[in-house]
C-alpha cells in the first residue's frame, strides 16, 4: 500500500553560537539523513534516548521546523515546500498529542472551546455542527459532555490527555503524531490511554507516529519500530522481529537496560563505574557514531558510516557487522 507519509534523506542541523557576538561555534546535527515511511492505518514507533532527534523529526513533519535538506511528502503534498493553502491541508491531516497534558491545554479556556478551536481555525462547519462534533469527540475519548464548561485545572493527567486527543481528532486527521503521550501519566492511567489509542485507530483508520523512550509501551502499541541514535535511524523492523532479534548493538543495549518487572532477571549493564561514560574523545564525525560504545566495533566501523540496509525479512539495520 502507498505510504501516507514519506520522508527522504531528511537533515537538520542547529548552529551553536557562543560569545557576545553570537559567533558560530559549529553545528549540532539533530537529524542526519532519515528515511521513513508511515503506511495507512499503521503505528510506527520511534524510540531513542533524549537528544537523539526524535522531537526535531516530528517538528519537521508538522512543518514547525524547516529541514536543511531532504523531503517530506504527506498524501502527495510536499510538506517542506508547501504554500499556505496546501500547508493548511497538511496541518489538517496531521495532528499532534504532546507529552505534558498540563502544559498543552490553555488554562484560561473552557474544555468546550479548547476542543472546538481546531475546527474554527480550519473553518469547518457552522456553530451548531461544531457543537455537535465536540460532543461526539468527547464520547469517542470516553468523557462525559458535562465537562464542556469546565477548565483544564479541574482534571487529572489522564483526563487531560483524553481532552488533548479529542482536540487532535477534531479536524479528522489521518496521521496522529504522539510525542511521549503517556510518559507523564501513572501506570494504571497509562494503560487506559494506550487502550484508547488502540481503539481509536481501529475505529478511525488512523496512522500513528508514536514517539517514546519507553520500549515496552512502544513494543505494545506499534506495528513497526524505528530506533534512532544520534540523528539516524539505526534499526527498523516489525515490532515482534525487533524485540525478538535486535540486530543493531545499540538496540540490544537499549533493551537490556529496560528494567523488567520480573525480579532477579538481572540487568545486563555496561560496567557502571567506568564504561558507558558519556564523554568520549574519539572523533565521531565519520564512521559509525556508536562505535566508541559498541562491544563489537571493528576497523571498518571507524572508516565507513553504515547505511540502513535490509538484513532480514523487512528488517533493516545500519551496522556493518549485523547480518
Amino acid at each position: 500500500m502507498k505510504p501516507i507519509l514519506e520522508i527522504r534523506e531528511l537533515k537538520k542541523a542547529f548552529p551553536i553560537t557562543s560569545g557576545v557576538f553570537r559567533k558560530s561555534a559549529g553545528v549540532v546535527t539533530a537529524v542526519d539523513g532519515v528515511d521513513l515511511d508511515i503506511r495507512p492505518n499503521e503505528t510506527l514507533g520511534l524510540v531513542g534516548e533524549s537528544g537523539c532527534g526524535k522531537t526535531t523529526l516530528s517538528k519537521m513533519i508538522l512543518a514547525l521546523e524547516e529541514p536543511d535538506s531532504g523531503s517530506i511528502r504527506f498524501e502527495d503534498v510536499d510538506v517542506v515546500r508547501a504554500r499556505r493553502s496546501s500547508l493548511s491541508q497538511v496541518r489538517r491531516g496531521i495532528q499532534v498529542v504532546f507529552q505534558d497534558p498540563f502544559g498543552s491545554l490553555n488554562p484560561r479556556r473552557k474544555i468546550g472551546s479548547i476542543i472546538e478551536e481546531p475546527m474554527i481555525i480550519h473553518r469547518e462547519g457552522s456553530k451548531a455542527q461544531r457543537a455537535k462534533r465536540v460532543r461526539e469527540l468527547l464520547e469517542m475519548v470516553g468523557l462525559h459532555e458535562d465537562i464542556l464548561p469546565r477548565y483544564p485545572h479541574e482534571f487529572s493527567g489522564g483526563q487531560r490527555q483524553r481532552i488533548c486527543i479529542a482536540r487532535a481528532l477534531a479536524v479528522n486527521p489521518r496521521l496522529l503524531i504522539c510525542d511521549e503521550p503517556v510518559s507523564a501519566l501513572d501506570v494504571s492511567i497509562q494503560a487506559q490511554v494506550i487502550n484508547l489509542l488502540v481503539d481509536l485507530q481501529k475505529e478511525l483508520k488512523l496512522s500513528y507516529l508514536f514517539i517514546s523512550h519507553n520500549l515496552s509501551v512502544v513494543g505494545y502499541i506499534s506495528h513497526r519500530v524505528a530506533v534512532m541514535y544520534k540523528g539516524r535511524i539505526v534499526e527498523l523492523a516489525d515490532a515482534s522481529a525487533l524485540f525478538e532479534n535486535p540486530l543493531h548493538p545499540y538496540t540490544g543495549c537499549l533493551m537490556d537496560a529496560v528494567p523488567e518487572a520480573r525480579p532477579k532477571k538481572g540487568l545486563n549493564l555496561r560496567s557502571p563505574r567506568r564504561g558507558g561514560v558519556e564523554q568520549v574523545s574519539t572523533d565521531l564525525s565519520s564512521g559509525c557514531a556508536y562505535r566508541a560504545w559498541c562491544p563489537r566495533a571493528e576497523g571498518i566501523c571507524a572508516q565507513e558510516t553504515p547505511v540502513l540496509e535490509e538484513k532480514g525479512d523487512r528488517h533493516y539495520a545500519a551496522c556493518h557487522l549485523a547480518s
Binding site: 523512550h213 537496560a257 528494567p259
Partner: protein, 355 residues
Amino acid sequence: MVDTDLIDRKATGQAAGDLRHTREPDDRDVLVDIQDLCTYFYTPEGVVHALGGVDLRIGRGRTLGLVGESGCGKTVLALTILRLIPEPPGKIVRGKVLFEGTDLLSLDQTGIREIRGNKISMIFQEPMTSLNPVFTIGFQIEEVLMLHQSHRAPTRKQARELAAELLDMVGIPYPGRRIDDYPHQLSGGMCQRVMIAMALACRPSLMIADEPTTALDVTTQAQILALMGELKEELNTSILLVTHDLGVVAQSCEDVAVMYTGNVVEHAGVEDIFSRPLHPYTRGLMRSIPTVEARRRGEQLHAIPGNVPTLRDMPKGCTFHNRCDEVMDICRRERPPMFRPHPDHCVRCWRYANG
C-alpha cells in the same frame, strides 16, 4: 469527616497491634521501624491526610522499594522521616519513626540535624536542579564533608582530596579534573552520580532516594541503579528507593511496599510481591504493564478503571473500593487493617481477613 477519622484510628490501631504480635519472633536486623505514622496538611479547603497511619520497616543493608502513583504520599513519607515537612501547613500528627532505636520525631532541632546528612541522607529526582549552578561540584561535596563534623575533615585540602575520592567511587572519570566542573558541564547521569557522592559522603546508614532515575534515559538509569546497588554492598547502607516504576523495583530492591492514598497497602519481599501479589491494586498495577507478547496475543491492556482519588476527597472505607473489581460490602464501610496472610507478607485488604 469525624467518623471516617474514628474508623481510621480504630483500623490503624488494630493494624499496629496486629503487627506487633507477630513481629517479635522474626525481628531481623531492623534499621528503621515506622509505626502508625500520620502526616496531615491543613489547607483552607480542609485537612489532607497525606499519610494515614503508615507501618513500615527497613532492614539494615537492604533496599526497600516504595511504589505508588503520583499523590499517594511516597514523597511525604520520605520527607517525614527526615522531618522536612513544612510546618505549617503540614503536621506530623502521630506515630513513631524509630531509627536505630531512637524516635526521630521526639528529637529537637539540633538532634535531627545531627541525623540529617550524617546518618540519613537524601537524593532527589531532578539532579540538575538539586545542585547549585554557581558552585563547582567539588565545592559542593566539600561543603557536605565540612558541615558534618562527624567525618572530621576539618581542612579544605583534606576535604578536597576526599571529594575527589568520592567522585572516583561513583564512577566519574578523571575526578581530579572533574572536581572543578560546574553542574551545567555535566550530563544528567553525571549530576546524579555527584548527588550520590554527596549523599554517601558521610557514610550514612540510610539513603533515601526519591525517584533518582525518573529524569534519566534508560541506559543511564541502568548504570545509576547498578552503581547504587554496588555502593550499598560496599558501605552496608540501607536504601529507601521511592519510585513509580515496577521494573526498577523488581531489579533493584529486596523488599517492596506498595502505597495507595497515604497508606501502605502491601508489604513483602520482592519475589513474593511479583509472584504472588495479594492486593487487588498491586495486581492491577502488575497487569497494566504493556509487553510486546501481550499485543501479539491480541490482548487488551488491563487498566485499573477510574482515577486515583484526591487526598482531599477520599472514599469511605477502603480507599480503593470504587476501583476494585473484587469489592465486598465491608470494603465500602470500614477501612481494612493490615493483615498478614503469610509470615513475611502484609496486605491491607478485607479479602485476607481470614488468613
